[in-house]
C-alpha cells in the first residue's frame, strides 16, 4: 500500500511539474508572439498612471521634498548661487502686503530659519486692493531678482488711472548673504493688463530682453500680446529709449525717455480673453514660443512673412497653457500644462520654435495650478495640483515616462513649486494651517 501511495505521489508530482512547465512555455510563447505582433510604440499619448483607470498613488512625501509654510503662495524661485528660496504670495484686501517670503537655505538645501517677509512697493492708488506676485525669476548671471506683480481687484480696470502708475515689474538686488533690496521698477501703463492671476517671465539668452506676461496692444484695439521689456545687458536694469514727442501744453518738441517695450499681438487668437506670456522658450536668434488661445505660439520677429505660428494643441480647453523650458538650454524640449486640467505636454522645439509632435499625458486626478517644474537630476517633473503635487517621470531625452505619483500638500491650489538643482531638493509652499475643503 505504501509503495502504491508513493508511486501515486511521484506521478502526481511529475504531472504538476509538467503542467507548470507547460504553462510557463505557453505564456512565454504567447507573450513572444504577441510582442512580435504589437511591439511597444513610441509613446506619444498616455494616461498616467497606466493602464487607464489606475488610481494615482498619493504619498505622504517623496525624498528631497521640502515644504515651506506660506499663506496664499502663488509662485516660487530658488537661487543656487545665493542659496535662497523666494516665494510669492497674494495679499489680502486691506492687508499691508507681505507678498515676498525669503528663505535662506543651508548647505543641504534645507531652510535655516524663519523667512524674511517683504512688502512689494505699490502706489497709493491701489488702495487696499489685494495684490499678488505672479512670477519670480533670478537673472542668470547678475545678482538680481525680477518680480512680476499684479492687482487682484475687479474694480480696477486697465483704463483706470492706477494703471498709469502701478509698476508690474520690480527689480531687487541680491547680496552675498541672500538679502533682497528693491532697486528699480517698470512695466507701467496701458500696455500691461491688470488683474491677471497668471503670468511668467524669462530672461533672453543675450540678457537684453525680459519677456513678460499680460501685454496688451495700446488703447482701443485691446488685443492680447506677447513681448519683452528691453534690459541693459550690463546692469540687468530696464533699458530706456529716447523719443521725440510734443509737449502736451507747450506743443514744443521734447525728448522723452521710455522703457523699451516690444510686443506682438496674438491676432485672432485670444483677443482680450486670456493671460498671455505664461512662460517663454527663447531661442538664440530671437525666436520664441509662448502660450496662445488654445494654442502654443511660436514667434519669429525677424520674419514678417511668418512671424507668428499658432499650433493648435490637441485636448486643450480654453484654459491657459503654461510653458516651461527644459532647464538645460541644450535640451530643445519644453513642457506645458493646461491650467485647471489634467493635461501635461512634452514638446520639442527648434531653437525657440515649436516643432515635432507633442507628447501628451492625461494625469489622473491632476487639476494643474502650477507650471511644470523640471528636475533634471531626478528625471522627473512636478506639477502643483489641488491639494497635491504630481510627479511624472522623464527619460534622459526629456520625454514623459509612465512613472507618476502624487504627494499630499496642504493647499487647495498648489501654485508655488521650485527645484534646486544643486541640492536636488523640491520645494513646495503650502498653507501654514490645514485648509478647509472648498464648498
Amino acid at each position: 500500500v505504501n509503495n502504491r501511495l508513493a508511486l501515486r505521489s511521484v506521478g502526481l508530482m511529475r504531472l504538476l511539474r509538467c503542467a507548470a512547465l507547460a504553462l510557463v512555455a505557453t505564456a512565454g510563447a504567447t507573450l513572444a508572439y504577441a510582442a512580435d505582433v504589437v511591439p511597444a510604440r513610441a509613446m506619444q499619448y498616455v494616461t498616467l498612471p497606466e493602464p487607464a483607470g489606475t488610481p494615482m498613488a498619493i504619498l505622504d512625501t517623496t525624498p528631497g521634498l521640502i515644504r515651506v509654510a506660506v499663506p496664499r503662495a502663488t509662485c516660487a524661485a530658488v537661487s543656487d548661487q545665493f542659496n535662497i528660496l523666494v516665494v510669492g504670495s497674494q495679499s489680502l484686501k486691506g492687508s499691508e502686503g507681505k507678498e515676498l517670503y525669503v528663505f535662506k537655505l543651508g548647505p543641504n538645501g534645507e531652510p535655516t530659519g524663519a523667512p524674511e517677509i517683504l512688502n512689494t512697493p505699490k502706489v497709493p492708488e491701489v488702495g487696499d486692493s489685494p495684490n499678488q506676485v505672479l512670477s519670480l525669476k533670478f537673472h542668470p548671471k547678475l545678482p538680481l531678482l525680477y518680480v512680476w506683480q499684479d492687482t487682484d481687484d475687479k474694480k480696477i480696470k486697465r483704463a483706470d488711472a492706477v494703471n498709469e502708475k502701478y509698476a508690474h515689474l520690480l527689480i531687487y538686488s541680491v547680496d552675498a548673504a541672500g538679502k533682497l533690496t528693491f532697486v528699480a521698477q517698470g512695466a507701467v501703463g496701458m500696455r500691461f493688463d491688470m488683474n491677471n492671476i497668471w503670468g511668467d517671465m524669462a530672461v533672453g539668452p543675450q540678457l537684453d530682453k525680459l519677456y513678460v506676461p499680460n501685454l496688451r496692444t495700446p488703447a482701443k484695439s485691446n488685443f492680447t500680446a506677447v513681448g519683452y521689456i528691453g534690459l541693459d545687458p550690463k546692469t540687468g536694469l530696464i533699458a530706456m529709449e529716447e523719443s521725440e514727442e510734443k509737449d502736451p501744453t507747450t506743443k514744443a518738441p521734447v525728448i522723452v525717455k521710455r522703457e523699451k517695450v516690444k510686443l506682438w499681438p496674438l491676432g485672432g487668437y485670444g483677443a482680450d480673453s486670456i493671460p498671455t506670456g505664461l512662460g517663454y522658450v527663447v531661442g538664440s536668434e530671437g525666436t520664441f514660443t509662448t502660450n496662445g488661445y488654445t494654442t502654443i505660439s511660436s514667434f519669429d520677429p525677424e520674419n514678417r512673412q511668418g512671424w507668428h505660428v499658432a499650433y493648435s494643441m490637441p485636448y486643450v480647453s480654453s484654459s491657459p497653457i503654461h510653458i516651461s523650458p527644459h532647464p538645460n538650454p541644450k535640451n530643445w524640449r519644453f513642457y506645458a500644462v493646461t491650467l485647471g486640467s489634467a493635461w501635461v505636454y512634452s514638446m520639442p522645439h527648434a531653437d525657440g520654435q515649436i516643432t515635432g509632435v507633442p507628447q501628451i499625458a492625461n494625469v489622473t486626478g491632476l487639476t494643474a495650478y502650477s507650471p511644470c517644474v523640471i528636475m533634471p537630476k531626478r528625471n522627473q517633473l512636478a506639477v502643483g495640483g489641488g491639494s497635491m503635487l504630481c510627479v511624472v517621470g522623464l527619460n534622459p531625452e526629456g520625454m514623459l515616462t509612465k512613472e507618476a505619483f502624487a504627494v499630499k500638500i496642504n493647499s487647495l491650489t498648489v501654485r508655488a513649486v521650485a527645484y534646486s538643482d544643486r541640492a536636488d531638493k523640491l520645494f513646495v509652499a503650502e498653507n501654514p494651517k490645514p485648509e478647509a475643503p472648498a464648498k
Binding site: 511529475r14 509538467c18 503542467a19 505557453t26 510563447a29 511660436s298 494643441m313 490637441p314 509632435v357 507633442p358
Partner: protein
C-alpha cells in the same frame, strides 16, 4: 538509451503529459490564428484627432516661414499669422508625415495600403496634388530650410522645401489626386508601404505638395481634434 527513452515516454504519458502537450499546442495555434487574422491597424483608428501612436513625425515646410515647422494655414492675409489646425499645401508649401509601422507583424505580405486624407478646401477645381516618398531622413526642427534642426544636428535639405528629386524625395510621385470636392480622399500607397515593410527602402514618410503655381489644397491637420481623420489602412496576409 532506447530503453531509457521508452521509459521516459511511458512515464510522461502516464503522468498526463500528452494532455498538457495537447493543451499547449491548442493554445499556441489559437494565438497564432488570432494574431494572423488581425488586420492593420486592427481596431486602432488612425484618425479623429491626433493619432500620435502612429503619426510620430509631422511638419509643414513653408517658404514664407523657412525655419518654422508648423506654418500651415495663413489666417491673416499678408500678416504672417499662421495656424496649424488647417494645413494647406501649395507649390511653395508641403506637408511631411511619417507613420510608425513597427506594429505590423513580421513575416507578412502587404496586399494593400490606403491613405485617407481629409480635404478641407481647394482652389482651383480639379487641382492636382501629389504624394512623394521622402528619401532623406528628417525629424525635429524639420522646416523649409532644414531637415533636422537640433542642438546636435543641423542639416539642410539638398534643395529648400525638400524639393530635391532623388535626394530629398523620390523623383516620381507615389500617387496623385485631382480634387473636385472637399471630403476624404483615398490614395493607394501600397508600393511605398511594401518597400518600407520589406526594408527595401527606409521609411522617411511622405510629402504632399502641389506643383501648380497659385493652387492650394487644404487639409484638416492631424492635430485638429474633432475634424481630423488621417487614416493609413494596411492590409496584409501571411507570406
Amino acid at each position: 538509451v532506447i530503453a531509457k527513452a521508452a521509459r521516459l515516454i511511458k512515464s510522461f504519458t502516464r503522468s498526463g503529459g500528452l494532455m498538457v502537450v495537447a493543451f499547449v499546442a491548442v493554445t499556441l495555434c489559437a494565438c497564432m490564428v488570432y494574431a494572423r487574422t488581425r488586420s492593420f491597424p486592427d481596431d486602432v483608428t488612425l484618425g479623429r484627432g491626433l493619432a500620435p501612436d502612429f503619426i510620430d513625425r509631422y511638419a509643414v515646410l513653408t517658404e514664407e516661414a523657412p525655419t518654422a515647422s508648423h506654418a500651415a494655414w495663413e489666417t491673416v492675409a499678408n500678416g504672417g499669422v499662421w495656424a496649424s489646425h488647417i494645413a494647406a499645401i501649395a507649390n511653395n508649401r508641403s506637408i511631411l508625415i511619417h507613420y510608425d509601422l513597427s506594429s505590423l507583424p513580421k513575416g507578412m505580405r502587404i496586399t494593400n495600403a490606403e491613405l485617407v486624407l481629409p480635404v478641407y478646401t481647394y482652389s482651383p477645381t480639379d487641382v492636382r496634388f501629389f504624394v512623394y516618398r521622402v528619401l532623406a531622413d528628417w525629424g525635429n526642427g524639420a522646416s523649409y530650410k532644414y531637415r533636422f534642426n537640433t542642438p546636435e544636428k543641423k542639416v539642410e535639405w539638398s534643395s529648400p522645401g525638400a524639393r530635391g528629386g532623388s535626394t530629398d524625395r523620390a523623383t516620381g510621385s507615389t500617387a496623385s489626386y485631382r480634387v473636385k470636392a472637399a471630403g476624404p480622399v483615398t490614395l493607394n500607397v501600397t508600393s511605398d508601404v511594401e518597400m518600407w515593410y520589406t526594408k527595401a527602402a527606409p521609411n522617411n514618410g511622405w510629402m504632399f505638395t502641389v506643383e501648380e503655381p497659385g493652387a492650394i489644397v487644404g487639409f484638416y491637420s492631424h492635430t485638429y481634434v474633432g475634424y481630423a481623420s488621417w487614416v493609413l489602412r494596411v492590409t496584409y496576409e501571411p507570406e
